[in-house]
Symmetry: C2
Subunit: 213 residues, 2 copies
């Protein structure tokens, strides 16, 4: 009886854990935690259920592993926002990075959305800790830019929320977006263009007037 999840992980260990996590991401993101079953995950991974449980202690453990790995990559784009950069460019770059994430990692986005929708029972800590500090920090930067008149002065927290909402919408509500647009559209490309306009207009300081709206 050996504990697989130790430092002595062989090639096959790492590989199978990876395969399981990949399969679990598929299933959890599509069905939610309670909707997903170990059989589905095992089947998607091409392994037997007991074998899956040989690599992970429980269904919950798989889910937690996915979530914990998620927060970091989720925060990365915001972390990259450079206080020393050109304000509008920095924010537009952030928007671009977030759309790319929605396009390239929609399952991760949905996994996250599922979790928050259910009240974030397993992420409350990370949200009130890591996430909040980073947002507060970057919001202060953006608020500073606004106060200096380098961009329009808008509530920085809600600006960040709006970026999250607008970009993640295209991953989380993908089916709806595609159904409404109909065939022959590239939602993410169009979104990229639309959002660039939106945030440019929102943040470009009006020439000759400080903030009358």
């Amino acid at each position: 009886m050996s504990e697989p999840n130790t430092r002595t992980s062989s090639r096959i260990q790492r590989q199978n854990r990876e395969v399981i996590l990949e399969a679990a991401l598929d299933v959890f993101s599509a069905q939610g935690f309670r909707g997903a079953t170990l059989d589905q995950i095992a089947s998607a991974a091409g392994l037997s259920k007991p074998n899956v449980l040989y690599y992970f202690a429980s269904k919950e453990a798989i889910h937690l592993e996915l979530l914990s790995g998620l927060m970091d990559s989720w925060l990365a784009p915001l972390r990259a926002l450079d206080p020393a950069g050109e304000p509008l460019d920095e924010i537009l770059d952030y928007v671009r990075r977030k759309i790319e994430m929605s396009r390239d990692y929609p399952r991760e986005s949905r996994l996250f959305a599922n979790e928050i929708l259910q009240g974030a029972p397993r992420m409350a800590e990370a949200i009130e800790g890591e996430l909040k500090s980073l947002v507060d920090e970057k919001a202060a930067v953006i608020g500073g830019w606004g106060a200096e008149g380098r961009i329009s002065a808008v509530d920085p927290h809600h600006l960040i929320f709006s970026i999250w909402a607008l970009t993640q919408h295209y991953a989380d509500f993908d089916v709806q977006v595609r159904a409404v647009l109909g065939p022959g559209h590239d939602p993410f490309a169009e979104a990229g263009r639309f959002l660039e306009v939106l945030f440019t207009r929102l943040l470009t300081p009006a020439v000759g007037q400080t903030s009358d709206i």
Copy 2:
């Protein structure tokens, strides 16, 4: 043996069905379809499980009833957008109505979000039908306004998406928003102000330039 869900519904019938739907909305919106159990619903309704099933044929039937009732109220705010009105006001009114819905009916918003997230298995029809037609219709109106220069010309479909994303975010991601803002905030009031600025800036035609961005 009588079928309760006929036209001959007594006072107690209507009342209990209402109580059950109310309880089910609580549970489904918080746990998702698969996460919700009949026991939870029955308990929340203050009824026994068999009694719940005396009023509804199945768990699925309750869920469907909620969803079908939802689409109409969900479309109402967009329906109210008046082609004969003042463009910017019409759109800002729509935004206001949608925020009020997020504030006053967050459970409905989450129920909807849950459904779309899971790929909208039970709403695909309504989305490709009712929803798409209405959006196409109103998008044409907004597109017309843009072409006439009464508002900035932006992609009308994505404009509507952005309104959905920005308003529903505050209902669906409520816990995250509140966690990040910290205590002493009224997310919906702040969001209302922020979004008014956002859409005003986006849609107000730049004076002296047609559309150079």
